[in-house]
């Protein structure tokens, strides 16, 4: 079972990115549980976790949200590659936070990035996912935590 503190680490890693990089905090919606693979947005940053826990954590956001985030970062390249780069950086921050808080009991992969309409997220059958809406300005992304 996922511990509250573990979930908090992943959530803070995500919201911290918005607060520091865009200078505008993100808020958290009501988390919910679901079975199977949740729907994702166009761009998804994935980290795989093994060791004390097994599974995946991913941050998925729409192109519209990432575009505004890039503008706030004073970036003027809004290409597909830059969008992928940005979700990768968010996942990288989540990964760094987790390494700091969990230490070596968790083996956390280098983030990978998926894009497209229906990317396949590597997830074990029957595993339940915690879905945490990340609301920022008028946009909503999702942080999805699926761990044993």
């Amino acid at each position: 079972m996922l511990h509250e503190q573990e979930l908090k680490t992943f959530v803070e890693g995500t919201t911290n990115f918005f607060e520091v990089t865009a200078q505008q905090p993100a808020s958290i919606g009501s988390p919910y549980l679901m079975e199977g693979s949740p729907a994702v947005h166009e761009y998804t940053g994935v980290i795989n976790i093994s060791g004390k826990r097994e599974g995946v954590v991913y941050f998925t956001a729409s192109k519209a949200m990432l575009t505004v985030l890039l503008m706030k970062m004073q970036e003027n390249d809004f290409s597909h590659e830059t969008m992928r780069d940005l979700v990768g950086e968010v996942a990288n921050t989540i990964s760094g936070n987790a390494r700091r808080d969990f230490g070596r009991e968790f083996v956390i992969s280098v983030p990978s990035v998926l894009s497209g309409e229906k990317p396949q997220i590597p997830q074990k059958p029957g595993m339940r996912s915690f879905i945490i809406p990340i609301n920022w300005r008028s946009h909503s992304a999702k942080l999805i935590v699926a761990l044993t």
């Binding site: 004073q74 970036e75 760094g96």
Partner: protein, 134 residues
């Protein structure tokens, strides 16, 4: 103050230190590039991994390097060791999301001079660079 004399000349004819930016993220490289407000730094190159950084380092002989850690082909920790072996006086600021103490200690032991955690504000970046050059 940074060891040695400034090795480049900027557009205003002022002597300045040469800067190399190493990060596999284009966004991060461009963001660090924007710190060109530092009159006494001149960007001599950007690299997306440790191997590319090593090649550029040999060609451009920078005085200051910003270094990501998690990169393909050659990671930042390995790269720091190789850069310091080539030029012990080089000043290296690690800019990474890997904020655990063990990673920071390892980077410092290899020869890094500062550590800035991602994500960072422009102000934090400017302060970290200024500290590095003191």
């Amino acid at each position: 103050m940074l060891n040695g004399n400034p090795t480049a000349v900027n557009g205003n004819g002022k002597r300045c230190f040469k800067l190399l930016i190493v990060d596999d993220s284009n966004i991060m490289r461009r963001r660090i590039e924007r710190l060109q407000q530092f009159e006494d730094l001149q960007l001599v190159g950007t690299a997306g991994n440790g191997l590319e950084a090593l090649e550029l380092f040999k060609r451009t002989d920078p005085d200051v390097v910003t270094m990501d850690l998690t990169m393909p082909r050659m990671d930042g920790i390995e790269c720091i060791g190789q850069l310091v072996a080539l030029k012990p006086a080089v000043r290296i600021l690690v800019i990474s999301a890997l904020a655990d103490k063990a990673t920071a200690v390892e980077a410092m032991e290899r020869g890094a001079n500062g550590f800035l955690e991602k994500p960072f504000t422009d102000r934090q970046l400017n302060e970290a660079i200024a500290d590095l050059m003191r």
